[in-house]
């Protein structure tokens, strides 16, 4: 789960990481008031959870109140990478004398958390990692003891020659680590971490992604989810305990298991089609869940054909068949359905569906091909 910059900064503040004076605003009136309170020049920053806000014109420095108003109108009306800007952050204009990068992720290979520092701020760290990996200084935290003092000092001393700044940075790194582990983050990032003209370290931008698996134990974090900025269908799928991701094609896929769901999308593409979605109905699928899955799938008006690819193990094919019947009855489905149901109770499923007007397939290759034919 991602959160907005302003939300990440609220967490930063709670953990004692210095941030600029700033205020989140949802309309122009609030921006005008905030720019008065914070003073000008100030920075108006679009709150959208995608990269490249600056390049897209979503970050502007307002020299005075009029400009603040003008930019607020401009930014609050725009879309960035298809996402409408609903809030802006009005931030004190910091006089930057130095920029750096500081972030923490989990290193899947080492199976440890790793703190990464880079002497360039505002960079795309993955870009640096690919092109110039030696520019990134890495320190692995101890899994059980955490980011120890000497680990943190090493990070600080890498970024700054001045001991006072180095130790200030070390303290920020340890706070960042606390956020990461206390709140089950998957990424925390200060980019850029700046020094202002008084020599103070400030987190100018803030990014926190959370581990979805950890949300159950952080109700306050889960409450930060910006439901408005997420796809309504993906949200609803999550509530129904389904895993759904919308794509741009026209063949709707209903599959049990994430790997098989991806392989099904790939297979559709392999035979020249375009999958409309990723959809994993999970292991023990009740008829109700299958119905919900179809309901969500059909909200996407591009879907022209539905391809069921079920390999029954724990999932019982007869449950899926009953779900299809129920959905056809209740949802008034017009699109043709190709069903490949194999494994546990497949005979029962065939029996249930024999008069349902479906197209049947015994292998996933056959299923994908039949779905494609039905498009013509």
């Amino acid at each position: 789960m991602k959160v907005h910059e302003y939300q990440a900064k609220e967490i930063f503040k709670k953990y004692g990481i210095p941030t600029p004076k700033e205020k989140v605003c949802k309309d122009v009136t609030e921006v005008i008031a905030a720019s008065r309170e914070i003073g000008t020049p100030c920075v108006i920053k679009a709150q959208v959870m995608v990269g490249g806000r600056g390049k897209a014109g979503g970050i502007k420095v307002a020299k005075n109140g009029d400009e603040a108003k003008q930019y607020a109108q401009q930014i609050l009306g725009m879309e960035i990478k298809g996402i409408p800007v609903k809030k802006v952050l009005v931030s004190e204009a910091v006089a930057i004398t130095h920029e750096a990068y500081l972030g923490i992720i989990i290193d899947r290979t080492e199976k440890k958390t790793v703190v990464m520092a880079c002497k360039e701020g505002g960079v795309e760290i993955e870009e640096v990692a690919r092109k110039n990996p030696e520019a990134i200084y890495k320190v692995y935290a101890d899994p059980l003891l955490g980011l120890m003092d000497h680990h943190a000092r090493a990070v600080g001393l890498f970024l700054y020659d001045d001991p006072k700044k180095a130790f200030g940075c070390a303290s920020i790194a340890q706070k960042l680590y606390k956020i990461f582990t206390h709140l089950d983050a998957s990424l925390v990032e200060i980019n850029p971490l700046v020094i202002d003209q008084t020599g103070q370290l400030i987190a100018l931008d803030a990014k926190i992604n959370f581990d979805d698996n950890g949300l159950y134990r952080h109700a306050d974090v889960a409450a930060m989810r910006d439901r408005e900025s997420e796809d309504a269908n993906e949200l609803r799928a999550r509530e129904c305990d389904l895993s759904y991701v919308k794509l741009d094609g026209d063949i709707g896929c209903v599959v049990n298991g994430a790997g098989l769901a991806m392989a099904t999308m790939d297979l559709v593409k392999h035979f020249g089609g375009e999958p409309a979605n990723f959809l994993d109905i999970g292991g023990s699928s009740s008829p109700e869940k299958v119905k919900n899955a179809l309901d969500i799938l059909l909200k996407d008006k591009n879907v022209k054909v539905i391809f069921f690819n079920i390999f029954g193990g724990i999932t019982r094919c007869d449950d899926v068949a009953n779900g299809i019947l129920q959905a056809k009855r209740e949802l008034n489905i017009k699109q043709p359905i190709v069903a490949r149901l194999t494994g546990t109770n497949e005979e029962k499923a065939m029996e249930i569906l024999k008069t349902a007007g479906l197209v049947f397939a015994t292998t996933m290759d056959e299923g994908a091909k039949k779905a494609l034919e039905l498009l013509k």
């Binding site: 698996n213 159950y216 392999h270």
Partner: protein, 290 residues
């Protein structure tokens, strides 16, 4: 022969009194697995499918000499169950539970170091040594004793591929679902090291997917160290970036986690890659004679 589980496996089921635990205990018994004990704290003394239930792993191990454990408890108790299994002296822990926070796996990994204990998963469908033992939720009927090893990050996709392999007339030695989470106890390479020494295994199929760089590391390892033929499949060629595709570990961040990148490295390292599950089975068939 086979790897990890066989006729000597004495299985303990943690969470045996739950819906999934009891259902799969029956399935595993039906396959012929030796299930010696179950554990559900507070329910010690009852029986499930004829298997005695204990209050703790320590007690179960003491009474039944269980050497392998499979975990079916809800995510919020699963890390705790893994620690109990480690401390209880279990040598092979298979964690089926999905949804354990990743940071818990960082800690578990550190705790297991130097403890002579192996974890498979979490978020693993388990493993099957065909004809000998099934420790997991994989459907037993698709397997046939043979010489192909299978390692996969997935569940149903593995069944699909195993089914194709069986249908082209080959069988499997051991098939392992290593789990779909970002941090897992046993990786592709760990399995390959075991398959290298398993005389029964003539070839291995590696079923990868988007996210992380384990497939790349595996390919380099295969090129350098692994003498038997390896075949590959990567799911998620059509997956968009920055979206979690079901599995917590299946997410493309930047460029290194894409299917294209993984397939490229597989091919560079001499691993034949099938475009579809059916094709994988055909590739294996063309090389391996059972």
């Amino acid at each position: 022969m086979s790897i990890l589980v066989d006729k000597n496996t004495k299985l303990l089921v943690q969470g045996i009194t739950g819906r999934d635990g009891s259902f799969h205990t029956r399935q595993m018994l039906n396959y012929g697995t030796t299930v010696v004990a179950g554990v559900t704290p507070g329910k010690g003394g009852v029986e499930v499918e004829g298997v005695p239930v204990f209050n703790s792993v320590a007690e179960a191990v003491k009474k039944t000499h269980a050497n392998t454990s499979i975990i079916f408890v809800p995510a919020q108790f699963a890390a705790s169950a893994v620690y109990e299994a480690i401390d209880g002296g279990i040598k092979l822990i298979v964690c089926v539970s999905e949804g354990i926070p990743t940071i818990e796996l960082v800690k578990i990994t550190a705790y297991m170091k130097d403890k002579n204990c192996r974890l498979i998963g979490p978020n693993s469908p388990g493993l099957v040594s065909a004809g000998d033992a099934k420790v997991g939720i994989l459907p037993g009927h698709i397997f046939k004793k043979g010489s192909v090893g299978v390692i996969s990050r997935s569940g149903t996709l593995t069944y699909e591929i195993v089914d194709h392999i069986t249908k082209v007339g080959l069988g499997q030695s051991t098939c392992i679902g290593i789990g779909g989470d970002p941090i897992i106890g046993t990786k592709f390479i760990d399995c390959l090291e075991l398959f290298a020494h398993d005389k029964e295994t003539a070839a291995v199929v590696v079923v990868g997917e988007i996210g992380g760089r384990d497939e790349q590391d595996t390919a380099v390892y295969v090129k350098k160290h692994f003498k038997k033929p390896v075949f590959g499949f990567i799911a998620g060629k059509t997956a968009p970036p920055d979206k979690r595709m079901g599995h917590a570990g299946a997410i493309i961040s930047g460029t290194s986690g894409t299917a294209a990148e993984k397939i490229k490295v597989f091919k560079e390292c001499g691993i034949k890659v099938g475009d579809t599950p059916a094709e994988v089975a055909q590739l294996v068939k063309s090389t391996v004679k059972d």
